[in-house]
Amino acid sequence: MHAELDNSRAPAAWLQPLQAIAFFVRKTLNIAEMEMRKLRHEPMDLLTRAAQPVLWILIFGQVLARTRAIPTGDVGYLEFMSPGILAQSMLFISIFYGISIIWERDLGIIHKFLAGPAPRASLVLGKGLSAGVRGISQIFIIYPLAYVLGVKLDFHILSLLGTVFTVLLGAVLFSTFSLFVAIKVKTRERFMGIGQFMTMPLFFASNAIYPIEIMPGWLQAISRFNPLTYVVDALRTLMLEGGQSHFGLGVDFAVLILVSALLVWAAGRAYPGFVN
């Protein structure tokens, strides 16, 4: 920095955006902390979530692995589906996350936060991060199970961190999408209906439990617009020994970060309308 004579205001000018970003990050973490505290009081929430992926791998996975009905190239079916089931588990946790803010809105908790100084988008992203932590908990269920079943997992520290990051990113994306839908539909009843309706296409129009190549052309096209496809692709690359990415990890992360940022922005904008 030059020691200019008239520098009384100069630092403020370049500091301002940095301060705004730091403030945004702090508020996001405050909200995430709150959600973590609530989760700590209700740890059973996480355990009940573990049942579904376990059943998918143990039953669906075992059966299809025996029949060899789905062409998965060089990898066995269990190997192929394990990353898909982690993605699915993350998706199911995140996609119904919006129901919690409808509940909080009905009580009145949301009103108080909106009248406070935290930026709207930080209220959204903070909740997204906490959905991320819930999603990450599934890693601790699926890794041991897959390992026991003989799936060759990549335990390199960077791969593990990459897996955690991918699940976090995917959970932020889908939970924010869920919040956005919740803000728009406003009631629990409507949300539950739409939630069911969202989950199936997101899951089946992706590469989670079968390769994209075996889909009909129109579904292949749709699956490329499905963010879950990129989550699964990244997980398959990072979780499995010698995993090959279809799109490239760079593309996967770019798509997920871009879509998440867009959703956080849109949900933050729509948030105030939620209470009126």
């Binding site: 505290r37 009248a115 100084p117």
Partner: protein, 264 residues
């Protein structure tokens, strides 16, 4: 000094004019009561003053800041206790206060001290580590008020602070509202249905009817304005054209009852 100033403040929802050209002035350190039947526009007023709802016309200054152009500054200088339940039942009382202290960027050394003082002031120190869902209605309200003043706001908005509380809890909440005013000179704008609340607690009141101020003044002035010696109930009936028992929609009624059940 005027802590709140509104000039012809208006809010429309489609064809319905919820607040119609309201001009109000609140002085520093006063407790101001906004009275009116359901649907008179009280909550809409508060939502505009807390920046939750943009006005459709007119303007409002809160703590010297414009609610539209300087919303962020208004949010830092005000506290708000919504009519609905706003403390989180899935955390302890202490945690509820801690999160708000952090949201308002209180430094760690001040934070603990202030939380402790507020818990003591509200008589909640023994329940600080209990989950809020085990609290009684009066305790929840006091916690909510503590949350909303943790950053020492210049202005505090209370939307029907004692709805659904039993008489003892209600009196206790009143005492705490008065203490806030006396100790921190907080300006308080509250809405209420209860005449005794307005009479005992408020320095000045305004009666809203169909989105407009039908009458305003000190409780004494208002009583004197309607055949000397009348009660505030008579004043209300005179200006709002209806007694306390009022319309309100099906949903409003259901909300109020659900809320009363939760806090009661």
């Amino acid at each position: 000094m005027n802590v709140i100033e509104t000039h012809a403040l208006t809010r429309q929802f489609g064809d319905f004019i919820a607040v119609n050209g309201v001009s109000l002035t609140l002085h520093e350190g006063e407790i101001f009561g906004l009275l009116g039947p359901n649907g008179a526009g009280k909550t809409t007023m508060i939502k505009m003053l807390t920046t939750l709802l943009p006005p459709s016309g007119g303007r409002a200054l809160v703590a010297g800041y414009d609610v539209e152009r300087e919303a962020a500054k208004v949010r830092r200088s005000t506290g708000y206790v919504p009519q609905l339940l706003s403390a989180d039942g899935n955390m302890t009382g202490y945690e509820n206060l801690l999160i708000f202290a952090k949201i308002f960027d209180l430094p760690p050394n001040i934070r603990e001290e202030r939380i402790r003082a507020l818990l003591e002031m509200m008589g909640l120190q023994d329940s600080a580590d209990k989950m809020v869902k085990t609290y009684s209605g009066g305790m929840i309200r006091k916690l909510e008020i503590a949350q909303s003043v943790i950053h020492r706001p210049k202005v505090l908005f209370l939307d029907e602070p004692t709805v659904g509380l039993d008489p003892i809890a209600r009196t206790s909440v009143w005492e705490h509202i008065q203490r806030l005013r006396n100790e921190f000179n907080t300006t308080i704008l509250l809405t209420t249905h209860y005449m005794e609340e307005a009479d005992d607690l408020c320095n000045r009141i305004a009666i809203m009817h169909r989105g407009q101020i039908a009458a305003s003044g000190t409780p004494q002035e208002l009583k004197a304005s309607v055949n000397g010696g009348a009660s505030l109930d008579d004043v209300f009936a005179y200006y709002a054209g209806t007694a306390l028992e009022t319309g309100g929609s099906y949903i409003q009624t259901s909300r109020t009852r659900i809320n009363a059940r939760r806090v009661g």
